[in-house]
Amino acid sequence: MSLVLLLVELKGGNDGLNTVIPYADPKYHELRPGIGVARERVLPLDEKVGLHEKLEPLMESWKARDFAILQGVGYPYPNRSHFRSIEIWDTASASNQTLSEGWIAQAFEGASLAKGAGVDSIVIDTNALPSTGPSLRTIVMPDAENFLRQAEALKDSTGAMDGGNPALRHLLAVRHEINAAAKGLSEQLRAAPPPAQAYPADGPLGRQFDLATRVLTARVPVVAIKAAIGGFDTHANQVQTHERLLGFLASNLALLRRNLIAADRWNDVVVMTYSEFGRRAKQNASAGTDHGAAAPHFVMGGAVKGGLYGGHPSLSDLEDGDIRHSIDFRSVFATMAQSCWGLRRDFGLRRPQKIGFIAA
């Protein structure tokens, strides 16, 4: 039994400390006198940490025990450039290593895939790096209707000859891949019922989850789907912006869960958030936060074992002002590869940590 991974990228670096809040730690309020979340606005998960109240829609999942929170996810020698750090995450590389293939593509290297729908991975935002690589047929389609229309305008290349020219051979192969994906998808997507409950139209995530829900409901045999929400780079006056983003994220995730339960797909899907880094523990002079290191991430799904994983982040043992990681993100990826697709991968770690957030 294979699970579909739905990745949700939080672009810009989500402020983990105002997402999962160490409300009981006096240091937290010391470091963040202006932007810290008051105790009464925290939904406690245990005696030490709790969720921001804007994440209230997720409590249903928390209570149903299908919502896991991985704390302190990061990597050694953290890079604080958006661009470089997201590349490190997307390619599961070490901090000083440049890889060009995405981690999901790496996981499927040498694995056999059922070639059902003409597509293995669907990217609904524009960053396809996690599933970029020769092992996966990845389609980027921020807009499914547009993709299908574009693909139809591209004639099928069956029968065209490359005359021994490798560049042309590649072009024809890509063209064929688009045609095949469009053919597979258009029938299945057009037949798929709309989500049981409509997603809110105020923000890009709803539109993306709508398509994800249709792909899943239509049982298109993909291994991964990726969505993204931007705006997390909160350097100045972050409170309002960040709360709005958390609100979006939570309401859309909660709706996704209900829709997938209604479509009887929730047990086959694992949703995971990730972001290039967390943010500096101490607030800056503009009532915002600068680029940091480790942060908590969410994993949800019918097969997920709910609860808190990884140690609570320590605010008294910071590294250059940032949270130290207690879980290497590559261990999370290794767990995903094993539990979702039955693939044993270590992503360059000598001994990936076993994190049991998915029922075996």
Binding site: F83, R84, Q150, L154, G163, V174, N237, S286, A287
Partner: protein, 530 residues
């Protein structure tokens, strides 16, 4: 404004000149190379050639044509540099922080119905001007080979705005690449090691004796010279020590050598021992045979084909090593049997810049709004001054994925839909027989003063002469654009042979209007090749 018109005047003049040459048919060289080889040579050494440009070259002897191409390097850009105050990263950073603060305050002031003030980030704004400046240069230059080489060196000695965040530094680096575009690789390497943008990009400015930063040393060995497998981790560490103290003055943005931060102890590098500094390391690298091979291989992939011929690479590298002069190397490359092999025509995939700049140039479109073009380049995966990482753009087959192929087609379709082609003068296809909405709407001759319906309706263009449309999207720039002088009056077969490096993949209906022929060629898969 004056400069703007003047510049356009220069271009008009150049186009008129080449059109004139074509019309007068200068005497053909006894060993004239012919249309298809001329097209091949120009497609690899420029961003795409017009029929007139091909016609000029095809009458020449091949060797003469190569020598002419290499003989006219432009060591300085034609486009005036963006005018920025002379300041170092420190001053620019202060401005950026001030703007951020201002923006934060503007945000706070916003009332329920008040719109937030638009405070632009000065660094982002300079970066935008910088990208537009280079794209403009690629579009208007009379020496496209120079720009191809600058782009090559930019992709070899990568630095990205994302990390550097100091546009004046990147502009200086670009000037270095242009100065030495076909000059000396040895000079390039020495200068790059002192280049302020590079010192920021690979952290050299923070590398001090007490704590050497290995970033630059690692890439120097892995990417700029030897390539993986030809050095050890110790070599990296020792090289890093030798470069300590090479830094920049944060106030002026200029290179400084800080003796107190330099580790002048003994180092052992690639089997040699001495109290080396950066220049000594570079000298050792230049003596290593792998350095020349790395460069030749990379040039081969860029200019010849995706599969370098190992024996030929060795041969070319062996002579390149003596003096590291780039121009004679390029000459040998263009004269090689492999470059001239017809099987290698169309054997490279156009990069996003090739595709976008080349299309605008060959179709003779009015220069569209450049921010829009840069956005398209970004979508297709090649933003000037922002290579994805230190390895640069991998290029080759990686340019085309399921995503980018659709985007490329979308870009081309948009141009096709927004652009008119003048009816063929020869061939006898009467416009009225095959009504073409796009062609009909814009039958405007430069200077005849007649307004075409499209422009009249929008009221956007009130001048008689076709002019570049700034500040409007590419799609709508076409409102008053017909295909420029480049393709007017060219017969269908020449149009197809100009636009495609090989026979079309899908059948092209050659009986259609010139516009239909151009559209079919541009949307053909073979148009992605060069």
């Amino acid at each position: 404004m004056v400069a703007w018109i003047g510049r356009r005047g220069v271009i008009g003049g150049a186009a008129a000149l080449s059109a004139g040459l074509w019309a007068s048919r200068p005497g053909r060289a006894a060993s004239a190379m012919g249309f298809d080889e001329a097209r091949h040579l120009l497609s690899r050494t420029s961003f795409g050639a017009t029929p007139a440009e091909i016609q000029v070259v095809e009458a020449q002897d091949y060797v003469t044509a190569v020598d002419r191409l290499l003989g006219s390097v432009r060591r300085e850009a034609l486009t005036p540099r963006p005018a920025w105050p002379a300041e170092g990263p420190a001053g620019l950073h202060r401005k950026e922080q001030a703007a951020q603060k201002e923006r934060a305050e503007a945000q706070r002031k916003t009332g329920v119905d008040g719109k937030p003030l638009q405070i632009t980030n000065p660094v982002q704004e300079q970066a935008r001007e910088l990208r537009n400046w280079w794209v403009e240069e690629m579009l208007v230059t009379d020496q496209p080979l120079t720009e191809r080489m600058v782009l090559f060196w930019h992709n070899h000695f990568t630095s990205s705005f994302q990390k550097v965040r100091y546009p004046a530094g990147l502009l200086g680096q670009n000037a270095l690449f242009r100065r030495e575009a076909l000059g000396s690789y040895a000079t390039l390497l020495k200068e790059v090691a002192r280049d302020p943008a590079m010192l920021i990009y690979l952290d050299g400015r923070q590398s001090v004796a007490r704590q050497p930063n290995e970033n630059f040393a690692r890439e120097l060995l892995e990417l700029f010279t030897l390539g993986e497998g030809h050095y050890s981790e110790t070599d990296i560490k020792e090289a890093a020590r030798a470069f300590t103290g090479w830094s920049i003055d944060e106030q002026t943005g200029q290179f400084v050598s800080r003796d107190k931060q330099h580790d002048d102890g003994e180092k052992t590098f690639l089997g040699r021992t001495g109290r080396f500094d950066g220049d000594d390391i570079i000298a050792i690298l230049l003596r290593h045979p792998r350095t020349a091979e790395t460069i030749v291989e990379k040039l081969w992939r860029e200019f010849v084909s995706l599969q370098p011929d190992a024996a030929e690479v060795k041969k070319l590298a062996a002579s390149f090593r003596h003096g590291y002069q780039i121009k004679p190397l390029m000459r040998s490359l263009f004269l090689s049997a492999q470059f001239r092999d017809p099987a290698n025509r169309g054997a490279l995939i156009k990069s996003p810049i090739d595709l976008i700049v080349g299309t605008v140039r060959v179709l003779g479109l009015p220069v569209p709004e450049k921010t829009q073009l840069v956005r398209m380049m970004q979508g297709l995966g090649q933003t000037p001054f922002d290579p994805p990482n230190v390895k640069g753009w991998v290029g080759g087959e990686n340019w085309v994925t399921t995503y980018t192929l659709l985007l490329r087609q979308q870009f081309l379709r948009r141009i096709v839909e927004a652009t008119t082609v003048a009816p063929m003068e020869a061939g006898g296809v009467a416009m009225a027989d095959r009504p073409n909405r796009r062609a009909d709407r814009r039958q405007q001759q430069p200077g005849d003063g007649a307004m075409q319906t499209g422009a009249m309706q929008t009221g956007a263009m009130q001048m008689a002469e076709a002019r570049p449309v700034e500040g409007r999207s590419l799609r709508y720039a076409g409102n008053e654009a017909r295909l420029g002088p480049t393709l007017v009056g060219v017969d269908a077969s020449t149009l197809t042979r100009t636009l495609l490096p090989r026979a079309p993949i899908d059948a092209v209906d050659a009986s259609g209007s010139a516009g239909a022929v151009v559209a079919a060629a541009m949307l053909d898969t073979a148009y992605q090749l060069k």
